[in-house]
Amino acid sequence: MTETPAGFTRDELMEVNAARALAGARTCFVGIGLPSTAANLARATVNPGLVLIYESGTIGSKPTRLPLSIGDGELAETADSVVPVPEMFNYWLQGGRIDVGFLGAAQVDAYANINTTVVDRGPDKPEGRLPGAGGAPEIASNCGRVLIVLRHTTRNFVRQLDFVTTMGHGSGPGDRTKLGMPGAGPVAVITDLGILRPDPATAELVLTELHPGVTVEQVRAATGWELTVAETVGTTEPPTPDELAALRALKAAGKEA
């Protein structure tokens, strides 16, 4: 690999920063797609001991390439333990044993609530059908904290969800407690433009970091609500050559398989 520090894509910025957010975590419940990329990159970089947990029943998977689905054979072959799916959801997830739940999303609102069920496509058009909930509602409720990763567009970052599949912070602070949700909920939304984090007082997502080369205006323009911006907005560290190399190697191995 002969990449220069500047030779990276917006997606790579998102993926590298998502991986970094897993520093210090012991266990991560991994959704497929971007979360899986991030979690596997974390194992290759900031957190080699991270225990990856997939809803297909694998605990401690150590894939050498990006799994193509949450039921990829390598996830089972490299796992410390494979458990039945009901046990995964009852003993491990609901049992409160997972530090971080890592989710993707189709739509996110200002309180980090998530829609993956249906989208309103306007009058005279039928609702657009999305895949559905999967494990997300209980992942978001039961994990110690939640990370969300998705691309930043006004289609994805909406003022009002068309459907609440998975509650993040509801309508503001206290909602999670009121509903008896054990975990802290979303602590960061990592996008290809920067990072949003809930304001401790209001639980509303606030832009706290920009990726190198991105402006606040770009993020505002890509957000469907009037985005709050932190007083001091940081800039994420550019990906290191090691991070990029690891990310690209993982993806290349995934394509080969």
């Binding site: 689905s69 990829d72 009901p86 609901q94 069920t117 509602p137 039961n142 509650m167």
Partner: protein, 276 residues
């Protein structure tokens, strides 16, 4: 006791118009060959149940055999949308598709209740979600000891569960291993159980992570090598990822889809299953 039958006869004998059918598998061991036999026989008005309906359910839906889908995540894993599923839900083609939609935790527990012959299961789930408003199979229940309000989900007891496994012995005992998902629960929750297997062996050797279903909880075992393709069977085959990717353009278009089913399922290579 399991009878070892041809796939044609087992499907004809066990799956009927109007049945609720679970064909389970979490990417691994998905019973494609059995589903294709259902398409060939035109068994229709089905309620299909599965946590993760994928391409094989897209095929059954697009073939017009499905009235209702009970599920928690419907997609082409690693690729994208299920176009036939979307077309049925969004446009009612080739027929409207009723949905009973849950989270994975809810669906898994519905199977557990079904296997336990309990009418419902309890979980700390669906909190803050709009899902319960769309279904009558989620309710609430109050803990008689702590007063906490929890979600209750109705048991799932399919008329028939169909799974694919690696091996059976001559008596019809079955073993599957690798990612075994929710297959044991789905089988034990069902009224009838059909298992396709890669092969019959003289004796089942206990495997790490192996699940054994004794012959007396199974109705039919059918020998269908590679019966999970394009899904896979650990120890026998690997996932045909190229097929899952190729499915996307096939399924996008109604005519392309219909032709594919005609050429590859109704009159295609799988026809051999009928005479096995």
């Amino acid at each position: 006791m399991a009878e070892i039958r041809s796939l044609h006869d087992a499907v004809a004998g066990l799956i009927h118009d109007g049945d609720t059918v679970a064909m389970e598998g979490f990417t691994h061991l998905i019973p494609y060959a059995a589903a294709h036999e259902v398409i060939r026989q035109g068994i229709t008005d089905l309620t299909l149940v599965r946590m993760t309906p994928d391409v094989v359910y897209d095929q059954l839906i697009g073939a017009g055999l499905v009235r209702k889908l009970v599920f928690s995540w419907g997609g082409n894993p690693g690729v994208g949308s299920l176009h036939r599923f979307r077309d049925a839900v969004e446009n009612g083609w080739p027929r409207p598709l009723e949905l009973d939609e849950h989270s994975h935790a809810g669906m898994a527990n519905r199977y557990v209740a079904g296997a336990s012959k309990l009418p419902f299961a309890v979980l700390r789930g669906y909190r803050g979600s709009d899902i319960p408003a769309r279904t009558d199979t989620i309710s609430t229940i109050t803990c008689p000891f702590t007063g906490e309000e929890l979600a209750a989900v109705a048991a799932l007891n399919p008329d028939v569960t169909v799974i694919h496994a690696q091996q059976a012995d001559r008596a019809g005992n079955v073993q599957l291993w690798g990612l075994t998902g929710v297959q044991k629960e789905a089988a034990l929750a069902a009224g009838r159980v059909l298992v396709t297997v890669e092969e019959i062996v003289e004796e089942l050797q206990p495997r790490p992570g192996g699940i054994v279903l004794p012959t007396w909880v199974i109705d039919a075992v059918c020998v269908v090598p590679d019966g999970a393709h394009p899904s896979y069977a650990t120890g026998y085959s690997v996932r045909d990822n190229a097929f899952y990717q190729a499915w996307d353009p096939i399924a996008r278009d109604r005519e392309t889809f219909t032709r594919w089913i005609e050429e590859n399922v109704r009159t295609g290579l799988d026809e051999e299953a009928a005479i096995r």
